[in-house]
Amino acid sequence: MGYQAHFRVWRGDGEGGDLRDFTVEVNEGEVVLDVIHRLQATQASDLAVRWNCKAGKCGSCSAEINGRPRLLCMTRMSVFSESETVTVTPMRTFPVIRDLVTDVSFNYTKAREIPSFKPPADLAPGEYRMQQVDVERSQEFRKCIECFLCQDTCHVVRDHEENKESFAGPRFLMRIAELEMHPLDDADRVREAQSEHGLGFCNITKCCTEVCPEHIKITDNALIPMKERVADRRYDPLVWLGNKIGRRKA
């Protein structure tokens, strides 16, 4: 059942590195991460890779496989032919630490710049009432496993180091949308999405949506509606007030 596959894995560190060739056994049902682990156990014990859950739930094992941003643990070997060379490289948008491990601190910095959930002042814990239909949209965004593949793929920052300062990236623009659509959040977020977090950089190419392993419709459901709200606000500053006052009380 097993076969010998040809792998090319990037090895190196912040100073530089290159692709190394490996011939390695692959068995039925395996994913790319299994093969990387086999390399560690048999040929390259110090090969650096991040992973935790091996079930697509933690978002640790992000890398690029044949140039495409993917989770190593959710990419089955069966999607490649036995003769195909599988090339595994670290995420390109973030600085390499070693081998497949990158410095993703950019994302944690951005996370901290997004104002947090503002709990409703008039409700005590246990008094929150929300309808399922009203929480579903934000729940979709909260499926995010913070793999940062969307951040890696977005052309605004991929190969554009200079934009990192002023652009939160799809994951964190989506976080703003999530809070904006939270039925009980007490803050106004629209203006800052544009002025502070770089929503305007996004030209809705949907590349982020395409790579999201959680299949979140980042562009259609988060980014475009936020852009619409920004546009609405330009015309009518009272829209926001109206939105919030109209919140459902069950």
């Binding site: 560190d13 068995n27 039925e28 049902g29 395996e30 994913v31 299994d34 560690q40 156990a41 014990s45 110090d46 090969l47 650096a48 890779v49 991040r50 992973w51 935790n52 859950c53 091996k54 079930a55 697509g56 739930k57 933690c58 978002g59 640790s60 959710m74 089955r76 630490i97 070693r98 081998d99 491990v101 993703v104 944690y108 996370a111 901290r112 104002p115 947090s116 959930f117 709990p119 814990p125 246990g126 929150y128 009432r129 929300m130 309808q131 399922q132 929480v135 934000s138 729940q139 909260r142 499926k143 995010c144 496993i145 913070e146 809070l179 939270h182 959040d185 069950a250």
Partner: protein
């Protein structure tokens, strides 16, 4: 030594799962300068994998629920071996902890009247698990993570520094706890995974929140982080572990393909109507209802199926028996030759719910099977079998403060012991994390506030910690850590696994000794920068010491109870219920070895005993305990 990176905090929390983050929030809110350390990135701790839900008697779906009912279910699930005070605090405080998460921004699934929805789970009398589809752990971790960020934003506004009072040190592994001459906690020592550089933290209080030990077993739902570090750190610091013989094998792990063997299939599949069948297409669980549960579980399909819509007038389906019962039943079916093609049994939800409903309620299971096994769970049954999932045993703590025997050392979450007795109910871990994480944070803060001086670690302790961590780079030609790890997993799986025998466990202990000797000689290649071989070599020491505790305690306990099943002692023995097995360690590093002694269980408080019917207590307590107990004849509803 001069370039050693040093930090000083009031409270150091080791672990960034649910327990650690909740502890850190509490310590910070008590005014402590707090640091959180974790092996992986912030937001990726094991808690993120929890699926089914968080148990709390809010009574949103069935208003008969109350802390008393939750307490009873927890004690029954643990076969009355639980630390009853912990079970009491847990049942009373869990609802507040869940509601609090909503103030952090959590968005649970809702009931029709807009409250938090609750689902059925094994061993819980009423629908009790608050959930978000089947990704509840992610919601929990993210909500706590975002709360931490919001506290950091407050500090930024107030003090101009996000990290002034609360800082997360991610990908930083602790290898030693530091103590002063009197044994009081003085801090911790570890290394940055990224650079391999050492770092020392000076702190008078440490909260261990490091999770479990599952990586010592071959088939497990646990990730690489679960190497029992906190258990081993506590032992080496002089604390004790209790209940280490109790390891939970979750009945439903994936069995195929081989590379995903062990990955969890959430219990919600059964809670939402999924049934277990053998190769003869029989719902075999009806044949495995133990005597103690006969009045609570349906003995025929008609009644079992009615329960989903009318729980008040029907008994529960036996698929929802506590996990240990279901795991053993599956094991027996497979042994009897009635298993599925890949050595499990069938778990079927496709014939029970419409496809859209399955996708709505169990999205990540649908996704997981489709992506990893090419199985469409809306059309086909899954193949499942037992997988090592959770360790009930852990650091012995004071229930109210989470303090261990060692001054300044606290523990919460899976690394602590007692709360779940011999078997944990599904959903009771996430609630445990929050209830006791908060208590540990408060306990540690109170301890620090009560100190008149900060304990200081002797400088030679640091040098020793450094030498010990670097040992795997010395010499060459020693054992490969990956090979040793695989051997260890095989030993634990085969000889101290789901069904245990005295001879096999004795054999396991011999093999563990041999493995320890090899581990002392282990060598690794390469340098210190993000070197997984080296990391594993250090983790191995912890796994070996903790495995020894499991094997030694399991050999001593000559009865079967919850997560400890003895082929040679198949019955539950009321005398053993009164006894806890307590592990301590002597020696250091790879040489450390475990010792296990019996300790009497503290009798349950009379008002708590009164919550049970006499006829139920008779099943668990000794005659002597019962005569001392008068009030327990009152009805269940009291």
């Amino acid at each position: 030594m001069s370039e050693l990176e040093r930090h000083a905090y009031d409270v150091l929390v080791i672990g960034a799962g649910g327990a650690g983050l909740r502890a850190a929030i509490e310590a910070r809110e008590h005014g402590m300068r707090t640091a959180v350390l974790c092996k992986s990135l912030f937001g990726k701790a094991h808690t993120v994998m929890a699926e089914g839900g968080i148990a709390a008697a809010m009574g949103n779906v069935n208003s008969h629920d109350s802390w008393q009912v939750h307490f009873r279910d927890t004690m029954r699930g643990g076969k009355f071996l639980n630390n009853w005070r912990m079970a009491e605090l847990h049942a009373k405080e869990a609802p507040d902890r869940v509601w609090e998460l909503e103030t952090y921004g959590a968005l649970f699934d809702r009931t029709a009247d807009g409250r938090i929805s609750q689902r059925n789970f094994g061993g819980h009398e009423y629908p009790r698990l608050a959930h978000v589809g089947d990704r509840t752990g992610l919601e929990l971790i993210r909500s706590l993570q975002q709360k931490i960020v919001s506290l950091q934003q407050e500090d930024q506004r107030e003090l101009g520094d996000y990290e002034a009072r609360l800082k997360v040190f991610a990908e930083c592994t602790v290898t030693e706890l530091l103590q002063d001459e009197d044994g009081r906690i003085a801090g911790a020592f570890g290394y940055w995974r990224e650079s391999g550089r050492f770092v020392s933290f000076e702190a008078p209080a440490v909260v261990l929140a490091t999770g479990g030990i599952g990586k010592s077993f071959k088939v497990t739902s646990n990730s690489w982080e679960y190497t029992g570090d906190g258990h081993a750190l506590a032992l080496r610091a002089g604390a004790a572990l209790v209940n280490m013989e109790f390891v939970q094998f979750h009945p439903t792990g994936m069995v195929w393909p081989p590379s995903v063997k062990g990955i969890l299939v959430t219990e919600s599949v059964r809670g939402d109507g999924g049934v277990l069948r053998n190769s003869e297409n029989k719902r075999f669980m009806f044949d495995y209802i133990p005597e103690v549960f006969k009045d609570k579980y349906a003995d025929n399909e008609t009644e079992a199926d009615k329960w989903y819509t009318d729980a008040d007038n029907n008994r529960r389906p036996p698929e929802l028996l506590p996990r240990d019962e279901v795991a053993r039943a599956i094991n027996s079916e497979v042994k009897a030759g009635r298993g599925s093609p890949h050595g499990g049994v069938f778990l079927d939800v496709s014939s029970r719910l419409p496809a859209e409903e399955i996708i709505r309620r169990l999205p990540s299971m649908h996704h997981q099977f489709k992506e990893l096994a090419d199985v469409d769970i809306t059309a086909q049954p899954m193949e499942v079998g037992p997988t090592c999932h959770y360790v009930m045993g852990g650091v012995e703590v004071e229930p109210d403060t989470a303090a261990s025997r060692v001054p300044g050392l606290f523990a919460a979450g899976e690394v602590s012991g007692g709360m779940h007795g011999s078997n944990r109910l599904g959903g009771n871990s996430l609630s445990d994390l929050l209830v006791f994480g908060r208590r540990a944070g408060a306990g540690a803060s109170a301890y620090v506030q009560g100190l008149t001086e900060r304990p200081a670690a002797a400088p030679e302790t640091l040098a020793r910690a450094e030498r010990s961590a670097l040992a795997p780079f010395d010499g060459e030609g020693g054992a490969n850590p990956y090979g040793l790890h695989m051997e260890l997993q095989q030993v634990m799986n085969d000889l101290v696994g789901i069904i245990r025998k005295s001879g096999e466990m004795a054999q396991a202990l011999e093999k563990l000794e041999a493995l320890k000797a090899k581990a002392a000689e282990v060598t690794v290649e390469g340098h210190r920068q993000f070197n997984p071989g080296w990391h594993l070599a250090l983790d191995l020491r912890n796994m070996l010491l903790v495995s020894e505790c499991v094997a030694k305690a399991a050999l001593l306990r000559t009865e079967s109870r919850g997560g400890h099943t003895r082929d040679d002692f198949p019955g539950m023995d009321a005398e053993w219920r009164r006894k806890l097995l307590v592990c301590t360690a002597s020696g250091d590093g790879v040489e450390a070895s475990a010792e296990v002694v019996e300790k009497p269980q503290v009798p349950m408080r009379p008002d708590l005993l009164d919550l049970f019917e006499y006829s139920e207590l008779e099943k668990y307590l000794t005659g002597q305990e019962l005569t001392g107990q008068s009030g327990a004849s009152r009805g269940e509803g009291s």
